[in-house]
């Protein structure tokens, strides 16, 4: 009986959360929405594992909705590029849902918990759609659903701080501009080729092999739209307030996965479709993405140093970390793309862990967590604080943590491309990361105030430690991450070289 469902697994990972989301929206209960979400996401993980099994056999799955063949119908594509991300997504969403319960109970009205989890699943389903879709207009739909769901989730933070409304509104406006840019680009592409399917697009575009202004304009619109959504410097301004005023569980989900999925689609578009115009591609990568990434790394890190609010500090650090990923993607070779994917995986874990720990502190402190308010927390809440320390050391990139693996492969990629200036900049910025992170550590363990240790909530520190331990495990045994990343790069770069 299950086989029927398993055949539709690619669709179900997206549709299941969306369906359940509608069911639990008006559930007045405090606990049932959470339990149903957990069950849904367990199924989701099961389906993802099933997809992994299928992929390891066949290597490629094209799922046609309603059996409408592409290019007429919408299709999902699962291959080596996105299967790793799909798995990470599934696992991390489950862990952060485990974590979210206590946070939601503390930060939002319990009567809203049904709505909150409904939006949560909506965001999960649509973000997963971004990972799987093979259709540029369908992507726009998922982008919009995920944006609206995240905006509403961010606005739920208004119970704690009214600024959350402003942050959500900001995101709404800027996100809408980004989406508009993207959809204009899609319009151009459709006008020129008459297709929306990515595989078909590649075929249709070859008729304009010498390039045409409308095509380039369309591509530029699409890329700029996605850059806004992925918070690539300098169009990142919606991100820091959004991450910092959202309920902490939401920050965790968004910081770890939202921008990552869009970055994934961004690189897929670049190396799978726009590859037909190598001169345009290298122009974009060398003169737009590469310098912007360097600026993002440097400026994001420096701004983070001057932040007093911890969640904002982490958000600006995210800007810099996204810069690392786009820097890697701008290298145009296998090592670069692979190291970008490595950092997508690792940074999702690191930033997720950090936001989880800080979010926990926020509900314990019952106010915004600033540097000052962390005084003595290292003694008061030793279990969570220690997890925070490990995540932070990984963010800096010290050996035995997965952050180091990211750095290693990024250095290697930069070195083979002889970008010595970038190596120096990355090294300096990782040293600057010590500055902002150590400000936190100093407050937590080395301030004059001391507390007796208090009991911590296992509901919360368990998910945090799952993430933290995986940070250490992948720092020592990095093979799975490296293999998934190499697989992604293999698929994407093979197109580049042909």
């Amino acid at each position: 009986m299950f086989d029927i469902f398993l055949d539709d697994a690619p669709a179900l990972v997206v549709v299941l959360p969306l369906l359940i989301s509608a069911i639990i929206a008006f559930m007045p209960s405090k606990i049932w929405p959470w339990i149903i979400s957990i069950i849904t996401l367990l199924l989701h993980l099961f389906l993802s594992l099933h997809l992994l099994k299928e992929i390891s056999v066949s290597g490629l799955i094209i799922y046609e909705f309603g059996n409408w063949e592409p290019p007429w119908g919408i299709s999902f594509k699962i291959d080596g590029v996105n299967i790793g991300l799909q798995l990470l997504f599934s696992i991390f969403v489950l862990v952060s849902t485990l974590y979210s319960r206590k946070i939601f109970l503390n930060e939002i009205d319990y009567r809203d918990s049904g709505k909150a989890y409904s939006l949560w699943l909506l965001a999960v389903g649509s973000l997963n759609g971004i990972i799987l879709t093979n259709d540029i207009f369908n992507l726009f739909v998922f982008l919009e659903i995920s944006a609206l769901a995240s905006i509403s989730l961010i606005a739920l933070g208004a119970g704690q701080n009214r600024k959350a409304l402003l942050a959500a509104f900001n995101y709404l406006i800027i996100g809408a501009i980004g989406a508009t840019f993207y959809v204009i680009g899609v319009g151009f592409a459709y006008a020129m080729t008459g297709t929306l399917n990515m595989n078909d697009l590649v075929i249709q575009l070859t008729q304009y092999s010498d390039g045409q202004l409308a095509i380039f304009a369309g591509m530029s619109f699409m890329l700029i739209g996605l850059m806004v959504k992925a918070a690539i410097f300098p169009v990142h301004i919606w991100l820091p307030p959004a991450y910092s005023y959202a309920p902490s569980a939401v920050s965790t989900l968004l910081a770890a996965l939202a921008t990552k999925t869009i970055l994934y689609f961004f690189v897929r578009l670049l190396y799978e479709v726009f590859i037909i115009y190598p001169s345009y591609l290298s122009l974009f990568l060398d003169f737009v993405l590469y310098p912007l990434s360097l600026l993002a790394i440097f400026i994001g890190t420096v701004i983070a140093i001057y932040q007093d609010d911890i969640k904002k500090l982490l958000a600006f650090s995210s800007i810099a970390q996204i810069g690392y990923i786009t820097l890697a993607f701008s290298l145009k070779d296998h090592s670069g793309v692979a190291s970008g994917f490595v950092h997508i995986f690792n940074h999702a874990l690191i930033k997720g862990g950090l936001f989880m720990a800080v979010g926990y502190f926020a509900i314990l402190y019952k106010d915004r967590v600033t540097l000052n308010s962390l005084k003595g927390f290292g003694y008061k809440y030793p279990i969570t604080s220690f997890a925070l320390l490990i995540c932070g050391l990984s963010l800096i990139g010290l050996p035995l943590t997965n952050g180091f693996i990211s750095k290693l492969y990024l250095f290697q990629a930069l070195y083979t491309n002889q970008m010595y200036f970038s190596i120096a900049l990355v090294a300096v910025s990782s040293a600057l990361a010590v500055v902002y992170f150590w400000k936190i550590v100093e407050q937590m363990w080395f301030s004059e105030i001391k507390f007796k240790s208090e009991k911590e909530d296992a509901y919360i520190y368990l998910p945090i430690w799952i993430v933290t331990i995986s940070i250490i495990v992948f720092g020592i045994y990095s093979t799975p991450i490296i293999e998934f990343s190499n697989l992604s790069a293999d698929y994407l770069i093979s197109g580049y070289q042909n």
Binding site: P399, A431, V434, F446
Partner: protein
Amino acid sequence: MSNSFLIILGIITPLFAALFSYVCRYNNNLRDSFGIIGGLITFVISLKIFHGIQNNEVYQITFFTLFDGVDFAFKVSALGSIFSLVASSLWILASIYTIGYMRGAGEKNQTRFVIFYSIAIHAALAIAWSGNLLVLFIFYEILTFSTFPLVGHKQNTESQSAGRLYLSILVGTSLIFFLPAIFWIWLKTGTLDFQDGGILMNKFPAEYLSFLIAMLVFGIGKAAIMPIHRWLPAAMVAPTPVSALLHAVAVVKAGVFSFLVVVVYIVGPDFLLQTKSSDWLVWLACFTIMASSIIAITKDDLKARLAYSTISQLSYIILGAALASSLALKGASFHIITHALGKITLFFCAGAIYVTAHIKKVSDLKGMGYKLPLIFFAYTLGALSIIGVPPFIGSWSKFYLIMGSIEREFIIVAIILGISSLLNIYYLLQPVVIGFTQNSKKEIKLIKAPLTVWPPLITGLGCLVFFFYANYFLNNISGVIVN
């Protein structure tokens, strides 16, 4: 007992000492005794390994692979066996001294102090026995982070800013220069293992070697070569046991040890001699020796003076490594031992004077020599050894360094070493001279702290006695370094 087990035991003993100290945190005597016990155990192990190395035994253990060609592994080299012997033997004395000092000075947070002290020793031993450059780097960072609470121990504004400076310089330089240098070596050679004769020959472009050496010497900030020396005087706000064991022995020696190891086992002295890529470093080291000696003269604070003296002495070792001839390397490695013994004596004495008489400044020492004869006796022994007067152990390393510079035909360097000894005489013996001038009018209340007196006496006499047993150490060194 198998050899690999010995390594594990040696490395985790300090961690257990830290753990037991925490468990017994409510019983002061029990808590502090674990430092001594741990010191004794690690000392016995280090001694056994030291002898084993002499008899060509191999001490090696591999845990897991970190990435291509780089394992998480320990392997004791001849240099490492010396460093671990120094660190563990002095840990015993320092633990005894710590008890006397911390209680005499009435410091707070003693449990935290003892714990991080042990962790720092753990990191130092792991550095000594590390099997490749990445493992060394890992424990280099652990050493930095574990000494941060010790530097900022007093938790006032001064120690807080000193702690920040300490951390930002040491971690900053290691992340900006040291780690990229390690990546560079790995990308060129595909390995980071320590091997006799180095791994870079024929694999690394000779024209970039000077640049790599620069990245390493500035990246290993613990070696405190100018201009990366500011953290060391700043770190003197820490309680004296920290200055004594860590900032005269474990931490700074970990720095120069790392650099020596890189020169001997990664770059290879032959490669260095062929390309002459480190000749510029000879001059920088000479500059550091002279400049910090002159700064030391101007310092009235005894610990600050000793700190600048340490910077100067560390550059002797950098100098020896940069010269890279076999005599110079021998002198440099031996200087790790001699300077450790001498300088820990001086710091012990400075701390003892502070605990018993609450004097920090050299100019306040008038007449104290008559009141604290034992301490001043020990101080004089240590000072003479560092100056390099026979029959003190310090004379050997200086002798070899001067021979090494003549061997490489750097006559000016030999002269600079001579001048530096003269400066040493001035700034190290001045406190003794002032101590024995008889015009102390005001009465100073003395606090008895016998536990702070005996350790410096032992190390001071050690400086004298080991002069006659220098061959015991030198045999071990010359076995590997002779090229």
